[in-house]
């Protein structure tokens, strides 16, 4: 029975969580026919970028019928407490406790993190109302904690809302996930949004865009504002978010869909990266940005 041990300390370099996530992912694929335990027992430090990714990877494996379990019996009391307070096991689900959304987010006042939130991605009045309320409270907590002025609050809210709305409009999924943490000593904000929907390629296919045949082409098309909707007025979100974060705030933008991802950082030429190695499980859309509070001028970088 393979035990895949998560490394004790996930570094804060931008690529460190990705490195560990893809290493674990490769191990899971290698052992997919057996009972697997993802072992967090030695963990002392981690971050939303890794934890949200591994959480969704685990959920997808379970949904596909794999025999996989989590060992969250951590010897480090601080880390065990962190996993509990951030609702790592199932995520905070605002639709199951709608009357408590404000209270729950209020309870994180003064903390550097907000709970891993697992919220509805549907378009019914009820789901829309829950999601809009949740975003309102969450964005105000972030604004308050980071002491953002109106301009920066607008930018952070834009980045969150645009991605959440993209998922609702295109991902054909029931749930949406958001996990964020502020690192005051290092001076950045880690903002991660993800879903386990049909991917960008699946979204184009679902609207009969058969001219787009690969994940790499789908990322290119999405970057170009090529909407999956017939209405011309839709689209553009990814391109604008990426520009706002990277060009406007010197941040780093990472978007993963299927076996392709877009990574942007200031001063570097952009590329779509594609993995030709065989992979079966996918994560879709993962955004991370970093904010430097020392300068009060968003410098979104590590």
């Amino acid at each position: 029975m393979p035990v895949i041990k998560v490394i004790p300390n996930i570094g804060l370099n931008f690529g460190a969580p990705l490195n560990e996530l893809f290493r674990v992912w490769a191990e899971i694929i290698k052992n997919k026919e057996q009972s697997i335990t993802l072992d967090f027992s030695s963990c002392r430090f981690s971050n939303p970028f890794f934890l949200l990714g591994i959480y969704l990877l685990y959920r997808q494996c379970k949904e596909k019928g794999m025999d996989i379990e989590l060992n969250l019996d951590c010897s480090n009391e601080y880390f065990a407490n962190y996993l509990s307070l951030t609702y790592f096991r199932g995520g905070f689900q605002p639709d199951t406790e709608p009357q408590d959304i404000e209270t729950i987010f209020d309870s994180y006042r003064g903390k550097t993190y907000l709970p891993l939130t697992n919220f509805p991605a549907g378009v019914s009045d009820y789901e829309t109302n829950i999601r809009d309320r949740m975003l309102e409270f969450m964005e105000h907590r972030v604004r308050e904690r980071l002491n953002l002025d109106t301009q920066l609050y607008t930018v952070v809210s834009y980045l969150i809302d645009e991605t959440v709305n993209n998922i609702k409009d295109h991902a054909r999924t029931e749930r949406d996930y958001l996990f964020t943490q502020f690192y005051p000593k290092k001076g950045f904000l880690d903002l991660c949004i993800a879903d386990t929907g049909v991917s960008l390629l699946g979204s184009y296919r679902a609207t009969a865009r058969y001219d787009i045949t690969s994940h790499e082409q789908a990322v290119q098309a999405a970057m170009n504002g090529d909407s999956t909707k017939n209405n011309l007025h839709r689209g553009f979100g990814i391109r604008t978010s990426r520009k706002m974060l990277v060009n406007g705030l010197s941040g780093r933008y990472f978007l993963l869909s299927g076996n392709s991802f877009l990574f942007s950082r200031p001063g570097q030429p952009e590329e779509v990266k594609s993995v030709t190695a065989r992979t079966r499980y996918k994560l879709v859309r993962h955004l991370s940005c970093h904010e430097n509070t020392d300068t009060k001028k968003c410098e979104f970088s590590v």
Partner: protein, 119 residues
């Protein structure tokens, strides 16, 4: 003389930020219900701090496609709200096509992990 119809967005939603296309659709239903022929209606954005691109995009789209669009006026917008309304108005008129990005292929998990270790 009758005073013009005004809808306070803040009162309508009891919120200071607006996030979704559905909210814009709800607002437009209300706008349509108070509109009478050749009488202007003012959409008052006082105390609204943030509107998402989706909300703005949907609102501008609905207004643009309304037969009475000339009578729908937005007022008391903050700079952030005004900027967002102008930005989506611009993109609905003009689409900018970006050049295709180059593609880098990773042929193994090792090369991918090596890339991540450098960023």
């Amino acid at each position: 003389m009758k005073s013009p119809a005004t809808i306070s967005v803040q009162n309508f939603f009891k919120a200071q930020s607006l996030h979704s296309r559905e909210q814009a659709q709800d607002l437009f239903v209300d706008i349509s219900s108070v509109m009478h022929n050749h009488e202007p209606v003012w959409i008052d954005f006082s105390d609204i701090e943030f509107i998402s691109r989706s909300f703005a995009d949907e609102l501008i789209y609905l207004k643009t496609n309304s037969k009475r669009k000339a009578f729908i006026n937005f007022c008391c917008t903050s700079i952030a709200v005004q900027d967002m309304l102008e930005a989506v108005t611009h993109t609905q008129v003009k689409r900018k096509i970006e050049k295709k990005l180059p593609v880098h292929q990773f042929d193994s998990m090792e090369s991918l992990l090596q890339f991540f270790s450098k960023i």
